[in-house]
């Protein structure tokens, strides 16, 4: 387990070394640490977002009975990766029955997707239902389905979450479980050694990739595409695209 963790911790260095190795193979060129960090961020976001599409794709395959259980349960893998970005936190109270959505400022991370919002009703938790703006007015006027403390609801406008009924109005009344964005990766270095920057994982702003180890090839290919475009080397782009397409096809 420790070995796995160490490997994960140093994934960004491994990715960078591989990218540079491929780029340097035919003297295509070199990318600076700052460029690498920019490309790494984009690549990570690409893959991160793709998890949700892949998860949905796998659900459809399950419904079509084209997916198995046990080791063949691909959905479970995606679900686990997505869950590794899950955060549960109290939402900051702004004003009457309004709360702040998760932000870097209030919950230490921005949200990619709000999975559920909970109303803390004494000792019990009630799941609040997100209602679209096209429905909320009618819902509030509905005798049967108007939000109550038993069946609370909420809407989101900009960075504000409005809770219904408006008696939900206290700090710590509302909890949120959401999927945060991965931290921006940052390959940090100490000094130049023989003309090359030396990797330093102890720097305060160091940030490894947050994706699992099996995404390393995908990260490399995506960064290679960005790097290839950067140094105007179409062969590098085509190579990476080809490898990525093959990988995608294999996973279907």
């Amino acid at each position: 387990m420790l070995i796995f963790a160490l490997k994960v911790l140093q994934m960004i260095n491994s990715v960078r070394n591989t990218v540079l190795s491929v780029l340097n193979k035919n003297n295509y060129g070199y990318i600076s640490p700052s460029d690498f960090n920019l490309f790494a961020k984009q690549a990570q976001l690409d893959i991160f977002e793709d998890y949700f599409y892949q998860y949905n794709y796998q659900i459809n395959k399950e419904n079509a009975r084209q997916s198995g259980t046990g080791y063949a349960d691909i959905t479970k893998g995606y679900s686990e990766v997505i869950d590794s970005f899950s955060v549960t936190a109290n939402l900051a109270h702004i004003a009457t029955n309004t709360f702040s959505v998760p932000t870097e400022l209030t919950t230490d991370s921005d949200y990619y997707l709000i999975n559920k919002v909970l109303f803390v009703d004494g000792t019990s938790l009630k799941e609040m239902e997100q209602v679209s703006h096209s429905k909320i007015t009618m819902l509030l006027n509905s005798l049967y389905t108007a939000p109550s403390t038993t069946f609370p609801a909420f809407t989101i406008e900009e960075s504000t979450l409005t809770a219904y009924p408006d008696t939900i109005d206290e700090y710590e009344d509302v909890k949120c479980q959401y999927i945060r964005y991965p931290e921006d990766p940052k390959w940090t270095y100490l000094s130049l050694t023989g003309g090359e920057p030396a990797f330093d994982s102890t720097a305060s702003d160091y940030q490894d990739f947050e994706l699992p180890l099996d995404d390393e090839p995908d990260l490399i290919m995506k960064i290679l595409q960005y790097a290839g475009m950067s140094i105007r080397e179409i062969a590098a782009v085509q190579f990476a695209q080809g490898a990525e397409n093959k990988d995608d096809a294999d996973q279907k």
Partner: protein, 307 residues
């Protein structure tokens, strides 16, 4: 999750009211129904998917309402004295009546619904019978119509054989041991059993939300048995349904959603409908609680001669 303790059940943990949980085990709450449905019947691998919870809540409530009208047999009963205007205001959760009785001397006497009306609205009219209007163009209305006034004053005659009958108190004559009355000679060949009731009668004015009684009911104790829709004044936490109908309500919600959802195959909707109907029949039979013990007393009278 553990059920409530015996102490909580019998004594409500020492809190008031003590009887809060008595009999509660017969019922499942609306919150549980919606929660269980979302958990068990909705999701990525279920027939129902991507539906808002408020839709489930709506159909759950509609299902409970329908069950309250006939299947539940949850009769509510309210006793009130009838006021001087011979009115009994319908309860706030009234939907339909089952029986209206007068209660006196320790006996409940069921009343008959009058087959004729005993109330009406009216407009003020002048000597030429033209309707009178106010400056806004609205017809002027009296406090009571003549029909109402006569009923309240006790001067309205009744076709029922009670104190307001046209023939009440009229004397006949006895001949050879038989009584004869002028009004019946050559005209009356038998008793109209539909109107042969001595008790006061009533008519329900649904729009006005009152039961209008014939005279003779003033200040008498009236017992109204009625059904509600189970919505408990909109208090979601108090809405529940009998456990006999739990499976039915899930089937009802599923059917209601599938039936109104675009692109669901007809055979799927049909299957859901049949399941719902079958479960309703089962639940009704269960709730009717027919067993030999209940039939015994009735069956003991099978050899009694009916005169």
């Amino acid at each position: 999750m553990a059920y409530i303790t015996q102490y909580k059940y019998y004594e409500n943990d020492g809190a008031s009211p003590k009887d809060e949980n008595w009999g509660s085990y017969q019922y499942v709450s609306l919150a549980d129904v919606v929660n269980n449905f979302m958990l068990m019947y909705a999701g990525n691998h279920s027939l129902v998917n991507n539906e808002e919870r408020f839709k489930v809540l709506f159909h759950a409530k509609r299902g409970i309402q329908e069950l309250n009208y006939d299947a539940f047999k949850e009769i509510k009963i309210l006793q009130l004295n009838v006021d001087d205007n011979l009115r009994f205001v319908l309860p706030s959760d009234y939907v339909n009546w089952v029986r209206v009785s007068v209660y006196e001397n320790g006996v409940l006497r069921p009343l008959t619904e009058n087959i004729q009306t005993n109330w009406s609205s009216a407009y003020l009219q002048d000597n030429n019978n033209d309707i009178l209007f106010d400056h806004a163009g609205n017809a002027l209305e009296p406090g009571n119509s003549n029909l109402d006034l006569d009923r309240i004053r006790g001067s309205k005659r009744s076709i029922y054989l009670n104190q307001n009958s046209s023939f009440n108190g009229l004397e006949g004559y006895c001949c050879d041991g038989n009584w004869y009355f002028d009004y019946s000679i050559g005209a009356r060949f038998g008793l109209n059993t539909e109107t042969a009731n001595i008790n006061p009668t009533f008519v329900i004015n649904k729009q006005a939300g009152v039961i209008n009684f014939s005279s003779g009911m003033s200040n008498r104790s009236c017992v109204l048995e009625y059904v509600s829709d189970g919505m408990e004044g909109g208090e979601d936490t108090k809405i529940n349904l009998n456990k006999m109908f739990e499976d039915y309500i899930y089937a009802y919600i599923e059917y209601a959603i599938l039936n109104s959802k675009l692109g669901v195959q007809e055979y799927v909707v049909g299957r859901a409908r049949k399941r719902k109907q079958a479960l309703l029949r089962n639940a009704k039979i269960r709730l009717s609680n027919i067993h030999p013990g209940r039939l015994l007393m009735n069956m003991r009278g099978q050899n009694k001669w009916i005169k």
